[in-house]
């Protein structure tokens, strides 16, 4: 594969496909809504959960109460951040698989049919 050709392809936007039509199609709108419903609340959740840690340690001291031996709440909160990260990663992968299926449908039905020369990435 020649890279010079890649550059040429990058230069011109593809005029054969009406992306506005695809963007406004019911299927694409549905995919976007689903994505938004999934990503926005979880992103807000993990950012809030994360920033709670420095905010609570900076402005309060109740996290210093010991729970197990000398391990206090602040350490458990810190470890829960790790657990949260791994759990959210796993949830994301599961959810993304269904987004992939919807995206492939859109590519096959609306994009490839208009574009003889191309193929889906």
């Amino acid at each position: 594969m020649s890279n010079v050709n890649d550059y040429k392809a990058d230069e011109n936007t593809d005029e054969r496909i009406d992306f506005v039509k695809v963007e406004q199609s019911e299927k694409f709108q549905w995919l976007m809504d689903e994505r938004k419903r999934f990503i926005v609340p979880l992103t807000i959740f993990f950012l809030v959960f994360y920033f709670m840690l420095p905010i609570l340690t900076s402005y309060t001291t109740f996290l210093n109460t010991p729970v197990i031996g000398d391990i206090s709440w602040v350490w458990l909160f810190a470890f829960s951040q790790f657990v949260m990260t791994w759990v959210l990663c796993t949830i994301y992968v599961k959810k993304a698989a269904s987004f992939d299926r919807q995206a492939d449908e859109i590519i096959n039905e609306q994009l490839n049919s208009n574009n003889k020369g191309g193929n889906a990435g």
Binding site: D6, D14, L31, P54, T85, Y92, I106
Partner: protein
């Protein structure tokens, strides 16, 4: 200096050179050079991301920070890990779907203007250089200590090594050096953590009870607030850590080494597991060093605590483990620096030379040559700067790089993918406002001005109170992009429709 250390160092050097030799034979096109032909598997790229990310600052710096400051050192571990949720949820897949080699390529999906590409290249080069100086200064200090050779010679050795990897092996060699390094580093971490736990009979509660008594801070060692006493300063640092990763050019570049968004996603997952386990283990290293090396010995070896991990290895496993961990630290620095050279060189050769000067009409041969010259130039520049930066604090340089990445790169990435009205002027103002507000605020901060002589670059009262200005500079980057967009008329909703469809479906006309 002893024979075991020398032999293990040489073994690492020879191993990486063999990798480079084989990689060089495979590197035939520009795509190979920048992105390993886009042919890495998800897990390979994931481990390489971990190798790229777990720098000397993480390994030596965090272990030392936990050993000396207890919980406050652990803040870094948490921030550096959660950052991958930002990468996974918001950045990785759209970036892979829209980009080619560099951040500027991704912005190009929406904006043709050379000034957008120019600004993105400027950000990439600035961040890479700051990060690279930090790594080289750290490497210099470590090797100087281990081999008892002058600082300049140590920096030169690392500099020459990284130049060889990148110049001859490009991204293929760099990726494999990072994979090998990540495996060695994790092995070292697991061995030390195991030995630490063994000492406490695998009773974690005992470990906490013990470290409470061994440091000069007593009970406060387990409580937050030993190092970070200014609440806004702590929050500002945490912002830089969590948002900076998604704007680091050498991490972003790694997403172009896989074939599609699905693989990019699986590489983030692998990376998150490896990096997460690593950061949990930093706790055992830090506590272990506090308990078995002792605060006084750690401080005596290096006032920043950077020798805590190697000293702990020596205390637990004798000379051989010390040599192994030191060699791993050396490999860590080499791998990270090679990734940085590559991202800096791509901004010079691909964005500035290939796309802006040559208008994308350079032949593959010309591009390869430009990429190699640029790698050489970036390496030489970084080596020269590092020679002058010997006395700068490494952690400060790294957190500065994260802060610039969060302020200058993240707003433009988020706006490009998610905001319909965003336009060319907005893109340029977002990047430049973020970059310059971060740089200017840092230059007025306590990291640069201190009333105590020798504590910072200049003597004087800081004008800006926070050492890490992310709390102010990140919102300024977003605000800059917002205002720049509102105050100009350009913009194409048709172009955004295309970007939105491509970013969310992974559709590509050329199939590349």
């Amino acid at each position: 200096m002893n024979a075991t250390v020398v032999i293990l160092f040489l073994a690492i050097v020879v191993l990486t050179l063999i990798i480079t030799y084989y990689a060089a034979k495979q590197t035939q096109s520009t795509t190979d050079f920048y992105t390993a032909g886009g042919g890495l598997k998800g897990w390979q790229n994931g481990v390489a991301i971990a190798g790229d990310y777990l720098s000397a600052a993480s390994f030596l710096g965090i272990a030392g920070a936990i050993a000396l400051y207890g919980f406050d050192g652990f803040f870094y571990s948490i921030g550096f890990l959660i950052a991958y949720l930002v990468v996974l949820f918001l950045v990785a897949e759209p970036l892979r779907n829209l980009g080619k080699y560099t951040l500027a390529d991704m912005l190009k999906a929406r904006f043709d203007a050379d000034k957008v590409r120019g600004a993105a290249a400027l950000n990439t080069i600035t961040i890479s250089i700051f990060y690279m100086i930090a790594q080289l200064v750290g490497a210099g200090a470590l090797i100087q200590l281990l081999f008892d050779i002058p600082y300049w010679m140590a920096v030169l050795i690392v500099g020459v090594m990284m130049t060889i990897y990148v110049l001859f092996g490009g991204m293929i060699a760099t990726s494999w050096v990072q994979i090998v390094k990540a495996v060695l580093l994790m092995a070292g971490m697991v061995i030390i953590s195991f030995l630490v736990l063994l000492k406490f009979n695998f009773n974690i509660v005992d470990m906490f009870n013990d470290v409470k008594t061994v440091t000069s801070n007593g009970e406060n060692y387990l409580k937050p607030g030993l190092k970070y006493t200014n609440p806004l300063g702590t929050i500002s640092l945490m912002i830089a850590l969590v948002l900076g990763t998604a704007g680091l050019p050498h991490i972003l570049m790694r997403f172009f080494t896989v074939k599609d968004a699905k693989t990019a996603r699986s590489s983030v997952i692998t990376a998150t597991w490896v990096i997460g386990i690593f950061y949990v283990l930093t706790l055992f290293l830090g506590f272990g060093a506090a308990a078995f090396v002792g605060e006084a010995n750690i401080l005596a070896a290096n006032p920043g605590g950077n020798m805590a991990a190697p000293l702990l290895a020596e205390a637990l496993g004798g000379e051989i483990l010390f040599a192994f961990i030191s060699a791993v630290a050396f490999a860590t620095i080499l791998a990270v620096v090679a990734g940085l050279v590559l991202s800096g060189a791509s901004a010079f050769a691909h964005d500035l030379y290939g796309q802006i000067i040559k208008k994308g009409k350079a032949s593959d041969l010309q591009q390869m040559r430009a990429a190699r010259y640029a790698s050489l130039a970036v390496s030489v520049l970084a080596i020269i700067l590092a020679l002058f930066a010997q006395y700068l604090n490494v952690a400060f340089l790294v957190s500065l790089a994260f802060c610039i990445a969060a302020s200058a790169n993240l707003p433009v990435i988020i706006y490009t993918v998610y905001w319909k009205k965003f336009n060319t002027s907005g893109a340029v103002t977002a990047m430049l406002t973020g970059l310059f507000s971060a740089l200017i605020l840092v230059s007025m901060s306590p990291s640069v001005f201190s009333p105590v002589e020798g504590a910072a670059l200049f003597v004087g009262d800081p004008i800006f109170p926070l050492s890490n200005p992310a709390l102010v500079s990140v919102p300024l980057g977003f605000l800059g992009g917002f205002l720049g967009t509102l105050f100009s008329k350009d913009g194409s909703s048709k172009r955004y429709a295309e970007v939105k469809v491509k970013a969310n479906t992974g559709y590509r006309e050329t199939g590349s």
